[in-house]
Point group: C2
Chain length 713, copies 2
């Protein structure tokens, strides 16, 4: 038996340092183990137990047994039959003590993943819970004894196991959640069980994403994103892979927005991702806003650069020296450029896919105008396009308004914004911003961008240009997921779905002939093709070896707005059974006018999704004039509008006072105090403010406008 020291030493050879090592009272059951750890002052506050299960699959009596070692989270359901089936093993049974002694010289209560080493790993089959791989949570691992425990991050534990792989022995990574839904499909080889599958699966997928949205929103969110195949975690922390299922949404947004801005005379361009230090630091307020998050390149190959070069956090200072060079005359105005690119903001806060990532995709528009009214008009025109991206494409309601002085873009004149709302967390979210920079970047001490004043007859006068910048990022996708997703997974609004309709063959049983199966599959393909011709993004899922139930679940997780089922009875009746993803409502549709009914139904889904989200936003937006009602409203997952004095000290005070909630704080939400989100343009929704009479809810001074406050992302 290895000592704690020898384990720690072998880990350190792999550059793995346990977060903690704890000696405690001997504990054999998981329950006792957890209690012993919770009682220890040296154990981390939050952890999960790791279970290490050893099975003996059935083999010929004369063969050397090859045990199956399963390493999983405490709460992961390990269904040994499904795991074995997946790995082509037969009839697994929990191993008896003598086998454990033979292989690991340990009893089952002292076992840990660390019993696997260069010697033992090749002799067994090792299966690890896939959710451990990328987890940064801490896991309790037996230190080969019942009275000593090591704490390792999921990543470290996974890395340890991965390093044991040899050419012949590979670590098996098992998605136990997926296995649950696959299980019946895997079992389908046994014909007798087959007929009742659909019903069974429908039940078993109720918690397909593994965790309920209302219970653990943060975990639900990342679970939906990975199960719906939208993102994957990446080896550089804070960065995520956008898989086709999410990137296609971005492409749809790009196409729509490109067509609109091109109509406005905006042209696309591309500026380099690098910015020299000197240029980046030219505007003081601006750089103060960004400098803590700037990533610096200091080395190329093996040479140190003479001076470090920044990766753009945004491109104002990178672009505007050239605006100064290009703009000579009022005839060069307006200059309207946009680029689709990625920017880097190396945040040290908890990252969240789409919402806070170190690299993200966006568009940034940068325009220069002769006059302020022209710049002002464009700011609003762009903001309205942003509103439409959210409301018309993503079916997400937003409130357009202007930011307070405190919350405006660093270095700009004023910032307009569309503010979204995440009902589950009750938090506001800045959805997109359109800034008027005024003449702050064009003035002579800054980038010195001017033209001769065309209205000055002496031609000696200079006019410094009026500038705007505006940006919309892949945050759009995150907001959409949070607003519409449910406990089955993603729910996509039809207009941004790369598959709007999935057609699934049903009613194929063991008795179905090959010909009968072909008839059904062909009908599905034919229907898909007919719908495609009518402009619907349709797909027939005629994959072999998967049950309809598995497919239903698969496409539900991925949020496809509409499912059409085709079985023998449907063909006979010349109809198809439709099932809406957003409501679950099923109804038969005659095939005769399917190219009309399906597009109409998709439009209805789009509208219904928006309307439901808007009703929710409205019902959770509280008009409040009495301070005592503010914190309870926030705690009740609402945002509030207050008549507000518009003074920064009052804003700070509101944040401070509203942060004193008794509710536990979610670490992943950066702000527990309420910030001002925007001063809505449409003030008519609320009781008119009477100047000199209506008072600021927070400080009692004269109120100026209704202002939206909320806890936020």
């Amino acid at each position: 038996m290895a000592s704690l020291e020898s384990i720690t030493q072998s880990l350190s050879g792999l550059s793995i340092t346990p977060a903690a090592t704890v000696s405690h009272t001997a504990a054999s059951s998981p329950q006792a183990w957890r209690e012993a750890l919770e009682a220890s002052s040296s154990a981390p506050k939050s952890f999960e137990l790791i279970k290490t299960l050893v099975y003996k699959p059935k083999t010929a009596k004369t063969a050397t047994p090859v045990p199956l070692v399963v390493i999983a989270r405490e709460n992961t359901d390990v269904i040994s039959g499904s795991v074995a089936k997946k790995l082509n093993l037969k009839e697994p049974r929990l191993a008896a003590g003598d086998l454990l002694t033979e292989f690991f010289s340990l009893d089952k209560n002292s076992l840990s993943p660390l019993v696997l080493n260069a010697e033992t790993f090749p002799k067994v089959i090792t299966a690890v819970d896939s959710t451990i791989e990328e987890s940064t949570s801490l896991f309790a691992v037996r230190a080969h004894a019942t009275d000593a425990t090591l704490f390792l991050s999921g990543r470290d534990l996974f890395a340890y196991l991965k390093r044991l792989e040899t050419k012949d022995t590979i670590l098996k990574i098992i998605d136990f959640e997926a296995l649950k839904t696959e299980a019946p499909a895997l079992a389908a080889a046994t014909p007798a069980k087959k007929e009742k599958e659909d019903a069974k699966i429908e039940g078993s997928v109720q918690i397909a994403v593994g965790v309920k949205k209302e219970v653990d929103f943060a975990t639900w969110y990342t679970s939906v994103l990975t199960k719906a195949d939208m993102i994957d975690y990446y080896s550089v922390s804070g960065c995520y892979i956008l898989k086709p299922w999410s990137y296609s949404i971005w492409e749809i947004i790009q196409d729509w927005f490109n067509s609109k801005i091109k109509e406005m005379g905006v042209q696309n361009a591309y500026f380099p991702m690098f910015v020299s230090q000197k240029v980046l630091e030219r505007e003081k307020d601006h750089i103060e806003g960004f400098s803590p998050e700037v990533a610096w390149v200091t080395r190329a190959g093996s040479s140190d650069l003479e001076e470090p070069i920044a990766i753009r956090p945004t491109s104002e200072t990178a672009m505007y020296p050239y605006y100064a060079k290009w703009i000579h005359s009022h005839r060069d105005l307006p200059l309207k450029l946009n680029q689709w690119n990625s920017v880097v903001r190396w945040e040290f806060k908890n990252p969240q896919p789409f919402l806070r990532t170190r690299e993200f995709l966006w568009q940034e528009g940068h325009t220069a105008h002769l006059t302020k009214p022209e710049a002002d008009a464009e700011v609003l025109e762009i903001l309205d396009l942003y509103r439409r991206v959210y409301e018309e494409l993503l079916a997400v309601p937003v409130i357009p308004g202007v930011k307070s002085e405190k919350e405006k873009f660093a270095g700009g004149l004023y910032t307009t914004t569309v503010e979204g709302f995440i009902p589950t967390s009750g938090r506001g979210i800045q959805a997109a911003t359109s800034h008027c920079l005024g003449q702050n970047f064009s003035r002579p001490e800054m980038f010195n961008i001017f033209v001769e004043d065309p209205n000055d007859p002496t031609r000696q006068g200079k006019t410094y240009v009026w500038q705007n910048s505006w940006g919309l990022s892949t945050r759009t996708i995150g907001v959409m997921v949070m607003v519409h997703g449910d406990n089955q997974g993603l729910v996509l609004p039809p207009r941004v779905a790369s598959v709007q309709v999935v057609i699934i063959p049903c009613g194929i049983t063991v008795k179905t002939t090959d010909e009968g199966r072909k008839t059904i599959n062909d009908k599905c393909e034919e229907l898909a093709s007919e719908l495609k011709k009518a402009g619907v993004k349709a797909k027939a899922d005629i994959r072999d070896g998967y049950t309809p139930g598995f497919k239903f679940n698969d496409w539900e997780q991925k949020g496809v707005p509409l499912r059409l089922e085709i079985g023998p009875a449907d063909i006979a009746k010349q109809q198809t059974l439709s099932a809406r993803r957003d409501t679950g409502v099923k109804s038969p549709l005659p095939l005769a006018d399917i190219t009309k009914s399906v597009p109409a139904l998709l439009e209805t889904i789009q509208e219904d999704m928006f309307k439901r989200a808007q009703d929710t936003y409205n019902s959770r937006l509280k008009e409040i004039t009495n301070w005592d009602d503010v914190v309870p409203a926030l705690d009740n997952k609402c945002v509030v509008v207050l008549p507000w004095c518009e003074e920064e000290a009052c804003e700070d005070d509101i944040k401070e006072r509203s942060g004193r909630s008794s509710e536990p704080q979610d670490e992943r939400a950066p702000s527990a105090g309420a910030k001002s989100l925007c001063i809505p343009f449409d003030q008519s929704r609320w009781t008119p403010i009477e100047p000199g009479k209506t008072k600021c809810t927070a400080c009692g001074k004269d109120a100026k406008r209704w202002t939206l406050f909320g806890r936020s992302y």
Copy 2:
């Protein structure tokens, strides 16, 4: 008078170090000055003289004179009248000695830009030749004496002047080339001169880009790119701004290529730009190919990162760990992902816009297949799309083939390529590559990407996936410019032109009434709108204040394929005069069937451009079997096909022997020796190789296949 030491000192305060300081025999004229410098052993080999001209504009007699100081290259035509007009100054005259003494205490032969300092700069108007701003060439500058000279780069000189700017006194940057063509327009205010303008301008724009393609190709190239408004230089060396005029070409290529690969089942995705060191360095051969050029981020905000993070030079190693994770079964194959992104290769060689830049835009496709034949087929399918991008969109002929072992992609199995040709330099250019990576990245010691072999009934067998990667970059645009551009500037093939047809009002004279002018302008707009409806990218240029000649030149520089002129006579005859950019051929087109004739003419232009380029390529591709003919052919700006043994030693030898040309070498062309460019797929173009009989032109061993060799980019 300042001494040489004090000048050097004041420069050093600005971190400017002269490349050389030279004492020489006193020389007053430019000619004598140049001779004195050329005779000095301490002067740089190559330099240009700077001329410093001081003018006294007309002012009221009682006013303090404000001299105009013009700083220009020796060969720049300074037309004082045009400069003055541009700057709103009147009747400039070269200043007399007493004014020079008064302002600078120097005579005209000792004057240099360095006489401008914090004290003198605000008292004068300073105009600098715009071509100096970004120039890295060395310029000779008088050290305030006729017998001493400093050498400064254009950038340093410009930076020196720029630093003198104050809130009230701005450095005027003059594009003297543009001024020449603008001059008549500026002069147009004088009605008497107006009628003969067109003819004059047509003559004066013969060298619109300032330097002839055949004489100084490298300068011509960058000049075309900047004058056509395709790029601008950027403050980080080796990076360029892609302005809308070039980025729109990239957008057209993207749209076309996206539609083709999506038909093939390829999906777009986005992987992060960062790669951890460990992951990047996983494939040894691969990283050896890239590591000298990798840019490393080591700092974020003010914190050093724990370990440096690379910016992707290409994404194989960043993506494939996830391919291993995503691919579990043959049902997950093929996996076909593509991304449109930028990559960074921090080259230390001379950068060239589009051809060799530190950051560039491209697409990279990465696919995984079950079988080698499937991977092989895709490699060629993609290569053919690349061929079509060049031939069908850019009208640039290419030769498809396979790279030699030496020239293949680092870490791959084999590389296919389309090879282009730049007639002016006689060099080949790798246009795009499609690689089969084989199982080199999927094998167990690498990324371990495998599936159960579906053909193995025991389900124990593993098949490592077959992978491809393929990329096409913005190099496309550079090749197109080099192949088609001429001494008037850019020539765009119609299919990639964002403006295919420009319509210019003509025949407006001083006698034209406002109504007459409106009729003509309206007709131009009407025609543009009619053509747009017919799918032609048409634009009417009805800008006021510019002569038709100026507009002709402007759009010719920018390469618009077709110009239509509309004047009173055209309207009367219901026709328009068309002028082709590629040939200059003019012909009248009846307006009646303009929506048919213009699209047809554009197609003809597209075909003619391709055919001419292909004829040139063919005529400069020499079939050679005698070594003695190789170097003369290369020196004669040809590429050669040789029967070749396909041995690497022989390839090295060819490069070595063919590098011994007597021709002066162009620093910007990285390889003076001939490399193997590709083994063309179509071998039937040349005399059949008889195995065992046909010998390698270079080494005399048995030849295998005809292989394309050439000096290259």
